[in-house]
Symmetry: C2
Subunit: 201 residues, 2 copies
């Protein structure tokens, strides 16, 4: 890594919590200068615009969150257990993320009626998460672990929606109970409606 690449990386790491907490509009140049210890020219030597920096910061924050959520899910051979592991990760492994909550939710909301570059980033993040879960579900159906009546993409999005919605409520109430309740609901649904009870011979 060249010195320039190193500096670029450091700017992204320091800008990421700002954008994730204060949003794109709420993050000012002086916030960025304060966090990085650089002058305007020092920051914009590495990025064409605030938008480009915000997009790189989103990618950084999202990668951290996605890695956390998918941590260890391949340890289990069973697809339903993999889904349950992801749900458990989402609910439990919340420290050590970029401060400010789920970057997908934050960016989706703020860019919803505005910034198309950030919106495209959030959309792509949602697609990759949905597609990772859909693949697990599809394999589960192929291996007789998951009920064949289940629609992979719909189930993937239902899990994501329930978790993101519970996170919204948890953050507003400053308490984690809604996340634990969502996990319990999803786990029961997976056991009773998704897991294939019939053994294949």
């Amino acid at each position: 890594m060249t010195k320039g690449q190193q500096t670029r990386r450091e700017i992204i790491e320091k800008a990421a919590p700002l954008f994730n907490q204060k949003g794109y509009e709420g993050t000012s140049l002086s916030d960025l200068m304060g966090a990085t210890g650089l002058q305007k020219g020092g920051i914009y030597r590495h990025f064409d615009s605030k938008e480009e920096l915000a997009a790189a910061a989103f990618d950084y924050s999202w990668l951290k969150a996605a890695n956390r959520r998918l941590d260890g899910i391949d340890d289990s051979a069973n697809s339903v257990d993999r889904l349950k592991k992801m749900i458990g990760n989402f609910v439990e492994l919340r420290s050590d993320l970029v401060p400010g909550g789920c970057p997908l939710m934050n960016t989706a909301i703020e860019s919803d009626d505005g910034n198309p570059i950030l919106r495209a980033r959030a959309r792509k993040a949602l697609q990759s998460w949905t597609s990772r879960l859909s693949t697990i579900i599809r394999r589960g159906i192929a291996h007789g672990q998951i009920n064949s009546a289940i629609h992979p993409q719909k189930l993937a999005q239902l899990i994501i929606a329930t978790l993101e919605g519970a996170l919204l409520i948890s953050r507003l109430q400053k308490g984690r109970q809604p996340l634990h309740d969502a996990r319990k609901h999803l786990d029961e649904y997976l056991e009773h409606n998704v897991r294939c009870k019939a053994r294949r011979n």
Copy 2:
């Protein structure tokens, strides 16, 4: 209504879509002047600060959304059917709201790490919605319509979380399918796990 009250009301109505779409930070004084056709002094004669105007705009947007969601739910005598009606309203009656999506979600996210006045408003809105649904559920238990093992507040929040999360995904994808899927999931859950099957004698 005095002329002053009338003007105040008009400012709120015109500011509400701006704050709901662009957020508190993203809405500038010139946006507000453009939407209301008033100068700075004309706006701030009626409000002490941008924050006070944003709070009034939130209340206005939220009242419209809450009325839509609760529309006609008292028509049914059965508590489970009331919950299903609210869920149907949330999914179907999305036109005619203040543009920019759910004011609760928008304000919760943006104020999450910042503005305490707006955060308190969003928190109160969530509490009143939760409490309205919890009351329906509690009455359903008392009348033998809802399974007595159900925890009223937890079920209320699970419904809200699932709907808000599905709305987030719907808006990001610019398609309503995740909302319809969430409704189907919740309706099935209410029928199979919440509705009391045993008739009381």
